[in-house]
């Protein structure tokens, strides 16, 4: 009972808080991968006042984001990068649930000539 209440309270507390720049933070989602196993995508984004920087899948194989844009009209997001094999990566989407801490970016991830629907939630 107590554990249940604690989980409810935790859920309530993380559901409402707001943050500054809408894209700042760590975003996690999945896209279709080889076979039936989906591939996890993690993006870390940060606004420095002039430019949005960040990486895709931080770690030894991290991919630097070459360009990221937030268009306030419709809260559209575009991200461009280059995979280790030199092929371009492009994401186009929009922010969902803008007012929430655990907001999401949903859109289309294009890589290697294929496009996948992706929804990344802010952690």
């Amino acid at each position: 009972m107590r554990l249940g209440l604690a989980l409810v309270l935790l859920g309530a507390s993380v559901a409402v808080a707001q943050e500054g720049f809408p894209l700042d933070g760590t975003w996690r989602g999945e896209r279709a991968g080889a076979g039936k196993v989906p591939e996890t995508i993690v993006m870390v984004l940060q606004w420095d006042g002039k430019k949005i920087g960040g990486v895709i899948n931080p770690g030894p194989s991290a991919i630097q984001i070459a360009d990221a844009q937030l268009i306030p009209a419709g809260w559209k997001v575009t991200i461009a990068a280059q995979a280790a094999n030199g092929k371009p990566i492009r994401f186009e989407g929009a922010i969902e649930n803008l007012g929430e801490y655990n907001r999401a970016i949903a859109g289309t991830w294009t890589q290697g000539g294929k496009s996948f629907p992706v929804r990344m939630v802010r952690e």
């Binding site: 507390s13 707001q18 500054g20 720049f21």
Partner: protein, 263 residues
């Protein structure tokens, strides 16, 4: 007798629920607005009570932050009377203006204070409920005690310490503040904020780059002048100022606590 006390309490509570704002305004009617500010024996202005006195600061003259000189109407929660005035409120970067308008259009429903998250700084200075500014001269600190919001407090260090590197601190709701006196003015500089609060009624955005310079003056016994300079180059195109006053209210800060669900 118990019944009388019970009815009396009910009347008081009902009156407060009906209009705490009005009660504060009445209580703060200046009785000695022109009286000089009290001072310590060495001449330093007291921002709190003189010995034997009871009182605190309340009844902020504004309900939200607006750049000095701009004429913008808003209600007690900071909701604009005219959304078209949004761009006048502050020198927003495009994303910040869009987010401010989004919050305004949403009726401020995402306000973290609705869930008892602290107002943070400087919103606390225009949140009704009472403020005390305690000058601890032994430790060279100033404590600000807040009756409104979630009934919290903050410290301004006047001991000459170097403020921490903002990139190396864990951001907080009130930041890390150091201060000094410039004549009769207390000046506080704060950095190291988190972004989990709205720093003003109405949903003005900010980032972790927020740097505040606050100036407190007590030109007379009953008046506290407060000015804040907001410098957040990730959110605003230039530093900007807002200022307002608070009134001296005789008595003690009323006891109240935030409860979730008070919207």
């Amino acid at each position: 007798m118990r019944t009388v006390i019970g009815v009396g309490c009910l009347v008081v509570v009902t009156a407060c629920i009906a209009g705490c704002q009005q009660k504060n305004a009445a209580a703060s009617t200046p009785t000695s607005a022109q009286s000089p500010a009290p001072r310590f024996p060495d001449g330093r202005v007291r921002f709190d009570r003189a010995p034997g006195e009871k009182g605190y600061w309340d009844s902020p003259s504004v309900s939200g932050l607006v750049e000095d000189g701009a004429k913008v109407e808003m209600d007690a929660a900071g909701k604009l009377a005219n959304l078209a005035d949004a761009a006048k409120v502050a020198p927003f970067q495009p994303w910040a203006l869009a987010l401010y308008e989004y919050r305004q259009k949403n009726g401020l429903k995402d306000d973290p204070m609705h869930e008892c998250i602290g107002p943070g700084n400087p919103r606390q200075m225009h949140t009704p409920g009472g403020v005390r500014i305690i000058q601890d001269r032994n430790y060279n600190r100033v404590y600000l005690l807040f009756g409104g919001g979630n009934r919290s407090w903050r410290v301004v260090y006047l001991d000459g310490r170097t403020p921490p590197n903002p990139d190396e601190v864990v951001g907080t709701f009130y930041g890390n503040a150091v201060g000094k006196y410039e004549g009769d003015t207390l000046v506080a500089e704060s950095i190291g904020f988190n972004t989990r609060f709205w720093f003003a009624n109405g949903g003005l955005p900010h980032t972790e780059a927020l740097h505040l310079t606050e100036r407190f003056k007590r030109p007379s016994h009953d008046v506290l002048e407060y000015e804040v300079t907001i410098d957040d180059p990730r959110t605003y195109t230039r530093p900007w100022k807002a200022s307002w006053t608070l009134r001296w209210v005789p008595g003690d800060i009323p006891e109240q606590f935030c409860e979730t669900g008070q919207k």
